[in-house]
């Protein structure tokens, strides 16, 4: 455990611990969503994680089309 914290950093490990805590909370109480799809167990967790990865992937791929040199408009 100590080696994991050392490897991953204190703040990062704390976030991971919080993630696990909020998953456990769902097991204790009954969570339901605004839509029926959200009622699937741990749905917000999966959705949040995947959304962030998708946003990052699309954002990075858009660099090729949208990113120009800093003086692009000044030339």
């Amino acid at each position: 455990m100590k080696s994991l914290i050392k490897k991953f950093g204190k703040i990062n490990s704390s976030v991971l611990a919080l993630c696990i805590l909020f998953l456990i909370l769902e097991l204790i109480g009954h969570r339901h969503g605004e839509t029926s799809i959200e009622d699937i167990m741990f749905f917000p967790a999966f959705f949040g994680f995947l959304s962030c990865i998708i946003i990052f992937k699309i954002g990075v791929s858009l660099r090729a089309f949208l990113m120009k040199k800093e003086d692009y408009y000044d030339r």
Binding site: L25, G29, E38, P44, F47, L50, C52, I55, F56, K69
Partner: protein, 564 residues
């Protein structure tokens, strides 16, 4: 007397005295102006001040359940802006901020479209000085584009108002039908100020070019005035749901790749406006309450984030993620306040964003708009990514940039702490916050499902970012320009238009020379015909050519109109 004075007007008039006051007295004077402006709000709901001019009744001061929360938050923001800008000794920006805030507050209390138009344009002409205040070549050009677009928006509004006046005999601010011509013109006017997709370029172009205090003020008023107008005139217009959903969605990707952190915040602003527009499009009481609550909370946390980045800009001279990092040890209070703003915008429970956004998400769920619901949920994860993490992380942590600086000035810290406190108070006491919303409602944001679901969403989205950063998948920030919709009028149209103009000009020259030749022949002919040639007693020069061309065009028009 003072209670029937339209809120905001006293700030606009009072701003004229600002240049003549010494610094400290000026700051106190501006505070008094804001308080005096807020006093008439105690009159309550109704039409309080009208002025007759050329048989037209201008409603300068009307107040209703919708205008009140906007009036309250605009006054709070004006106070925060005065405090945040107190270190600036020169009067110019203070005059601009005071008159701009006053114009926006007065616009919210306008009861007819022509009064609204006057204040609509006033917000444009006063705020442009905040962009010019940066005093750079870039800001000058950006300010020029900004004013053209804002005035264009005003022209659409005026055109819509005049058609409405012609059709209905009045221009009262009411719910308008999108299927009418005037409705469409007014809709476009509001849409430009609300930074609709493809009409949003001015926002990302101009706001980051303004001064550090200017951007904070700009982020508060113009776009939220448009939100108020949409809520007032187009609540329940279904197309707004689609437009708003697109607005929440696409700026996320731009924000991810943008390097300038203040520009990242403008994309984030655009995305947050999308939430409000969706809610207005739904149009139910819960949704309108959600839109207003979101606008209210948004002004505070977005202002707070801009204040944090403004403090960094003021101290370090740049807001580029590629050049920042490790500032926490030098600016800890600024960093903590920025983090509170970031947590609020990410909608963590116990912060303002959560209690505001929950209303919109519940309204969407109740209406069964599943696709839009998930688009907004996706956008919520995006907000965490670019505003919740990227802003504080790249400015205050990430890596040691080697920059050594000191904490923000005291006045900036006071404003940031006040805004942070409000973000937390709204999150802790939502029922008080809900009591100022337009419609009475019973809503409990802190139920088990809401809280656990939101915490899972946000912590796992944060964990994804951590993984990307920790395993070095996240690419480094680069000095760059990210193309946005302003590319259309900054590059594409000039690229097409300039060669076309040059071609027409050449054609005109050739045609003009021929016309001169023809006109000289006519002159010679007439001179021989007439005994005195006073009419043609000077050479046909440039003005003669222009007259001939105008007549030619005029004749061609007459010919065409006769044919068709």
């Amino acid at each position: 007397m003072i209670d029937s004075f339209p809120p905001g007007l006293i700030m606009v008039i009072g701003a004229l005295l600002i240049p003549f006051l010494p610094h400290i007295i000026r700051q106190i004077y501006m505070m008094i102006l804001v308080l005096l402006s807020a006093y008439p709000l105690t009159l309550g709901i109704g039409i309080h001040t009208t002025v007759n001019f050329f048989d037209f009744e201008f409603i300068l001061f009307q107040s209703d359940a919708l205008s009140l929360p906007f009036a309250i938050i605009f006054h709070i923001a004006a106070v925060l802006n005065v405090i945040y800008g107190a270190h600036v000794k020169h009067w110019k920006q203070h005059v601009a901020i005071m008159s701009y805030s006053g114009a926006a507050i007065a616009a919210v209390h306008a009861g007819d479209l022509l009064t609204l138009f006057v204040w609509w344009e006033a917000t444009a002409f006063t705020s442009v000085f905040l962009i010019l205040a940066s005093n750079t070549n870039r800001s000058f050009k950006s300010a020029f584009r900004y004013i053209i677009i804002q005035v264009t928006s005003g022209m659409f509004l005026l055109a819509g108002a005049l058609i409405l006046l012609n059709n209905e005999g009045n221009t009262l601010l009411a719910k308008f039908d999108i299927n009418t011509l005037y409705g469409q013109l007014i809709f476009i006017a509001f849409g430009i100020k609300a930074a609709f997709p493809l009409l949003n370029g001015w926002l990302q172009d101009s706001y980051p070019e303004a001064s550090e205090i200017g951007t904070v003020a700009l982020s508060t008023f113009t776009t939220k005035l448009a939100i108020y107008c949409f809520a007032k005139c187009f609540a329940g217009t279904e197309i707004l749901i689609a437009i708003g959903a697109i607005m929440t969605f696409y700026p996320i990707f731009f924000a991810v790749i943008e390097n300038d952190l203040r520009r990242v915040l403008t994309y984030s602003l655009n995305n947050q406006l999308g939430f409000m527009i969706v809610a207005i499009g739904i149009g139910t009481e819960l949704a309108i309450n959600g839109a207003v609550a979101h606008a209210f909370a948004h002004i505070l946390y977005k202002g707070l984030l801009f204040m944090g980045m403004g403090a960094v800009l003021y101290r370090v001279g740049t807001c580029k993620a590629s050049e920042l990092g490790g500032l926490f040890k030098y600016m800890p209070i600024t960093a903590i306040c920025t983090i509170i703003g970031a947590i609020s915008i990410s909608a963590f429970p116990l912060f303002s964003g959560f209690v505001a956004k929950s209303l919109i998400m519940s309204a969407l769920g109740k209406e069964g708009l599943v696709l839009v619901y998930f688009m907004l949920l996706f956008a919520s994860a995006g907000v965490l990514h670019h505003s919740g993490i990227k802003i504080p992380f790249f400015a205050f942590f990430a890596h040691d940039s080697g920059i050594k600086t000191k904490e923000a000035p005291v006045n900036m810290i006071i404003a940031m702490v006040m805004a942070s406190a409000l973000c937390i108070l709204i999150g802790i006491f939502p029922s008080i916050f809900y009591s100022i919303l337009p419609y009475q409602m019973v809503y409990e944001p802190y139920d088990f499902s809401h809280v656990v679901g939101q915490l899972q969403l946000l912590t796992f989205a944060a964990f994804a970012f951590i993984c990307l950063w920790h395993f070095k998948i996240y690419p480094p920030e680069l000095n760059s320009t990210v193309l946005n919709s302003d590319w259309i009028y900054r590059k594409m149209i000039p690229g097409v238009l300039f060669p076309l103009i040059s071609m027409i000009s050449k054609l005109n020259e050739t045609l003009g020379n021929n016309l001169i030749g023809v006109s000289i022949k006519i002159k010679t002919y007439l001179a021989t015909m007439m005994t005195t040639d006073r009419i043609f007693d000077r050479e046909v020069g440039k003005d003669g050519l222009i007259i001939i061309q105008i007549f030619t065009v005029f004749l061609i028009f007459i010919l065409i109109s006769q044919v068709f």
